[in-house]
Symmetry: C2
Subunit: 203 residues, 2 copies
């Protein structure tokens, strides 16, 4: 009985707040536990079809091996953009990443602030003039000119508090920061001449 | 026989270059065909689990209805980040979007430059100190501090040309532009009080 009561109080919005506070305390005590490295590997499968594999990462002081299997995400383009629709296109996948990060951050913030959520939905729109990426006009950038996010949030808190939770999520979301502020990206290229991958690598 | 020869010459790296040049000509003649809007809808499923649905988009002068079904991508977090591993986390999905866009752009550029590719692989790493996103330290941003991309590219062209193709892909990739330069994002919030979605919306 008391165990059940404790579980009910600890898990909010599907987030174990006891674990959450434990994690925060652990990183406060040992800041190096905050260092993470996330990874993805991608392989071209023909035309606009490619696939990313995602599994290992470094975090909390060690290589993580908790994932039993790798995740994979396929990419493609619709016919009008010369593909065969083998998956969401990369710009659409970026919208997913943004939606997912804002949503998870929002849910964690709500859990910390004792707000029980019952519904979180969002729709995202990104405007792009492909004259940029196609190299047809310097008046247009390659990427989205603007992204609009619309959240629909329900929970047991007053409207003002729900809005505060969404505002706080924007202030703390990793992908919102990346997409709004940009990140330095370095690109290295290996062009192995040998046919066998085992002898690959440039001299 | 002549038809087969034509197909061989037109499709390169899985990209129909005749269609590609036709698309470029059409947009040159009618620049408004370059206006696209991509979209994603996301729904929270509990804890760190949420799912994006991707289908409709606007482009080439009309709403596109060529996709028979919607794509969906699940998001999650590993146990160490308070989730139950229901999918790649949002930051990992962003790495996928970046890898996929650079790869597709690279493949299209190679097709245009008559380079036959045989292999394109990439690995991406993103460094993040979660003290930022957790609100524990102002010394760290929320998102990636840096992203490193390593490409491995094989094809029937000299190394210098393969490297040019990769460099050109960076100059033209939509997601590379978004991630390196940032995009303005607006967030609107609706907090419907009525229990039924049909009567939702704020007065």
């Amino acid at each position: 009985m008391s165990t059940q009561t404790q579980v009910i109080e600890t898990v909010r919005n599907g987030v174990d707040t006891a674990q959450m506070y434990g994690t925060l305390d652990a990183i406060k005590a040992q800041p190096e536990l905050g260092v993470f490295q996330f990874r993805a590997s991608n392989r071209w499968l023909g035309g606009a079809h490619n696939r990313s594999t995602i599994r290992a990462f470094y975090g909390a002081g060690q290589e993580d091996d908790s994932r039993a299997e790798a995740f994979s995400i396929d990419a493609g383009e619709p016919a009008v953009l010369l593909g065969t629709d083998t998956g969401p296109n990369p710009a659409e996948s970026l919208l997913h990443a943004l939606a997912a990060c804002l949503t998870t951050t929002l849910v964690y913030v709500a859990a910390a602030r004792k707000v029980h959520l019952t519904e979180v939905e969002s729709t995202l729109e990104g405007d792009m003039d492909v004259q940029g990426a196609l190299g047809l006009s310097d008046d247009h950038r390659n990427g989205f000119e603007q992204i609009r996010v619309k959240f629909r949030v329900k929970g047991d808190a007053p409207e003002e508090k729900l809005r505060e939770v969404v505002a706080r999520a924007q202030k703390r979301s990793a992908v919102f920061d990346i997409v709004t502020n940009g990140v330095p990206v370095t690109v290295a290229v290996e062009t192995p001449l040998a046919p066998s991958p085992s002898t690959g690598g440039r001299p």
